[in-house]
């Protein structure tokens, strides 16, 4: 099916926004003390979140993992609130209490990102159960990595989602690495998608650097789920172009491998296409880039100028 021009531009925009946002984070990390701790980026994998979320409606829920910035921004989270949270400021989406690994944006139905690998899968199944129980026209998407597919929770979750025909889409971002382990070093199955058959659900393999292919797969899976036909496992084949986190020197990733995948970057792939089709002019593209640059700059300004939470704020939103 032909994808509408607006959709394509929307996906291009969200990939560009994520890239700009994360490039800025890399710069900020180098600035000692500004953002301590871990910085886990999705450079090169933007097509996954951007393609999947473009197929969702605002009511659909996403559960994300440690590599969440793109999922959240594309689902519509305010870049200012995300940036402020990463800075640990009280205007952040978690009021500066969680930082980059546990961003939660309930307003856009992204209630939980978790750094506990595999931790989100059963939670997503529970959300999908609620949606089914309440007869909502909505689905749940769970994003996770190839490494997470080795955790017990992956198997428990797929089994149950299938047993109860829940409206859920499992999106595995197979970026070829889990920490310092290459894919073949942690599992024998060639494709994570193969595991779907063990739970009697479709397992789709998608070129995770082709945002339109990801979008199509997600749309089909969503329709299937909404129609009451149960879950789908989508495996997006992609690549982690940077280290596990920004302090990882990537010594175990072959340089030519990185270079080859950089060639397959999903962003020029889409922008070249829309450009060739005449859907966007060179001026419009640079205007889009400029607009995104301004959005990110504003997010940084907002975060920098916001205060840290006061010590007593630690006692808010909890019971002690």
């Amino acid at each position: 099916m032909e994808v509408a021009k607006e959709k394509k531009i929307e996906m291009l925009r969200s990939m560009l926004l994520t890239r700009r946002f994360e490039e800025t984070l890399t710069e900020l990390c180098k600035n000692e003390g500004k953002i301590p701790g871990m910085m886990i980026l999705c450079t090169g994998q933007e097509a996954v979140g951007s393609g999947v979320c473009a197929a969702l409606s605002p009511e659909d829920v996403i559960i994300s993992n440690h590599r969440s910035h793109n999922h959240l921004l594309t689902k519509g989270a305010d870049p200012r609130a995300i940036m402020a949270e990463i800075y640990g400021k009280s205007t952040g989406c978690n009021k500066g209490k969680s930082g980059t690994l546990h961003l939660a944006v309930p307003e856009v139905n992204a209630p939980c990102t978790t750094t506990v690998v595999g931790g989100g899968l059963p939670i997503a199944v529970g959300v999908a159960f609620s949606q089914q129980y309440k007869k909502e026209k909505a689905v749940t998407v769970c994003f996770f990595g190839d490494g997470a597919a080795d955790e017990g929770s992956f198997h428990e979750s797929l089994n149950l989602a299938s047993l109860w025909s829940l409206p859920i889409v499992f999106v595995c971002e197979n970026n070829l690495y889990a920490g310092a382990q290459r894919y073949e070093e942690h599992t024998r199955v060639k494709d994570i998608a193969d595991r779907a058959s063990a739970y009697a659900m479709p397992g789709e393999i998608v070129d995770g650097n082709d945002v339109l292919a990801v979008y199509e797969a997600a749309r089909t899976a969503r329709e299937r789920a909404i129609a009451g036909n149960g879950p789908t496992l989508i495996e997006c084949k992609t690549y982690r172009c940077r280290g596990h986190g920004e302090s990882d020197h990537q010594l175990y990733q072959p340089k030519d491998e990185i270079a080859a995948w950089q060639e397959k970057c999903p962003i020029p792939r889409l922008s070249d296409e829309v450009f060739a089709l005449g859907l966007i002019t060179a001026e419009e593209l640079s205007a889009l880039e400029a607009e995104i640059g301004a959005v990110v700059q504003e997010a940084v300004r907002f975060a920098e100028e916001s205060p840290y939470p006061k010590p007593e704020e630690a006692l808010e939103d909890v019971f002690v």
Binding site: G37, V117, G179, T187, P311
Partner: protein, 326 residues
């Protein structure tokens, strides 16, 4: 003797035990080729090969469960969980099996495994990467819970933990990993589990701590001495369970005043157990209520407020003053 960081000292313990005993194996996520997130297992893969230093997939319940099986049938596994905040995924294996199989098999089996994990705050990491939940493990009958406080005792305690017939949870205070160096003898050194030590002698008040907080406590003790001439006795628990209460009870009987310091949350924390033991066994010697300086009953906050959460010298000094002035 070489001066070593805690990371190097733990590495030495693993290396020497593996050289001495073929049954000692190491497993965990990225412990092999990569040498571990904190480089604790560096060089082991090169020296001992993939049959004894195993990179596992992401599978904490598996890692802990596999270790139990290995331990039941003749091996001495030392498994690493990347951060203590990820041990919960395998908690059922520890609690339901590792801790219980000795009793359940009427003593015919024991589970000689060690679970190592970096734990605790002070490195400006995020939640799950900074927490201090030793009480879960100390509360579980059948598990030993060890937390070293220096390179030298880290090495000796780990050697003893590996040789111990029972499951030992060994938490490494990551704030101390590279905080300072200490002489560590090349020759074998062990340290009995379940024994505390006097880290500083004194007669006016007893301060009980362990792990990274021992160092805040020692600093507080020397500040109190320099500024006010107070002689605090500091006790380093080193093993949280089974808890050695003999030494601190003796000390409390001498000083009559006690403050317990830990970074774990306050309620139901190790300090509560220590305090009750003191009440049970030295009530008539106490001159003041026992005080606790601890983390709060919260998830450890992000970097900007971590210092407010962790016990520091000021909070310890204040608690000591209040106890002395009671």
């Amino acid at each position: 003797m070489a001066k070593m960081t805690m990371v190097q000292a733990i590495n030495l313990a693993l290396k020497q035990e593996m050289e001495k005993d073929d049954n000692v194996v190491v497993l965990g996520e990225d412990v092999g080729v990569d040498g571990g997130v904190f480089r604790v297992t560096e060089g082991l893969f090169e020296q001992f090969g993939e049959n004894r230093v195993m990179d596992t997939p992401l599978a904490e319940a598996g890692i802990i469960g596999f270790s139990i099986g290995m331990a039941l049938y003749g091996l001495k596994p030392v498994c690493e969980i990347q951060f203590s905040g990820f041990t919960y995924l395998g908690f059922h294996q520890l609690e339901s099996h590792a801790a219980r199989l000795r009793g359940r098999s009427a003593g015919r089996f024991t589970v000689p495994m060690v679970l190592r994990a970096p734990y605790g705050g002070g490195v400006r990491a995020l939640e799950h990467h900074s927490e201090s939940r030793e009480a879960y493990f100390a509360h579980t009958p059948g598990l030993k819970m060890v937390i070293p406080s220096s390179p030298r005792n880290a090495r000796a305690l780990l050697v003893s933990a590996i040789r111990d017939p029972d499951p030992v949870v060994y938490f490494e205070p990551k704030a101390l990993y590279r905080a300072f160096r200490e002489e560590v003898p090349e020759d074998e050194e062990t340290m009995e589990l379940g024994r505390s030590r006097i880290a500083r002698e004194g007669k006016d008040i007893t301060l009980i701590s362990y792990g990274a907080m021992l160092h805040e406590t020692m600093q507080a003790a020397s500040a109190l001495h320099q500024k006010q001439g107070i002689e605090a006795e500091v006790i380093d628990l080193m093993t949280i369970a089974p808890l050695d209460d003999a030494l601190f009870i003796e000390s409390a009987r001498k000083t009559g005043r006690v403050v317990v310091i830990h970074e774990a949350p306050r309620s139901f924390g190790p300090g509560a157990e220590v305090a009750v033991r003191l009440v049970e066994k030295s009530f008539l010697y106490l001159e003041a209520p026992i005080r606790r300086v601890t983390g709060f009953d919260l998830v450890i906050p992000l970097f900007q407020r971590e210092k407010a959460y962790l016990p520091g010298v000021d909070r310890i000094v204040r608690a000591v003053r209040e106890t002395l002035d009671f």
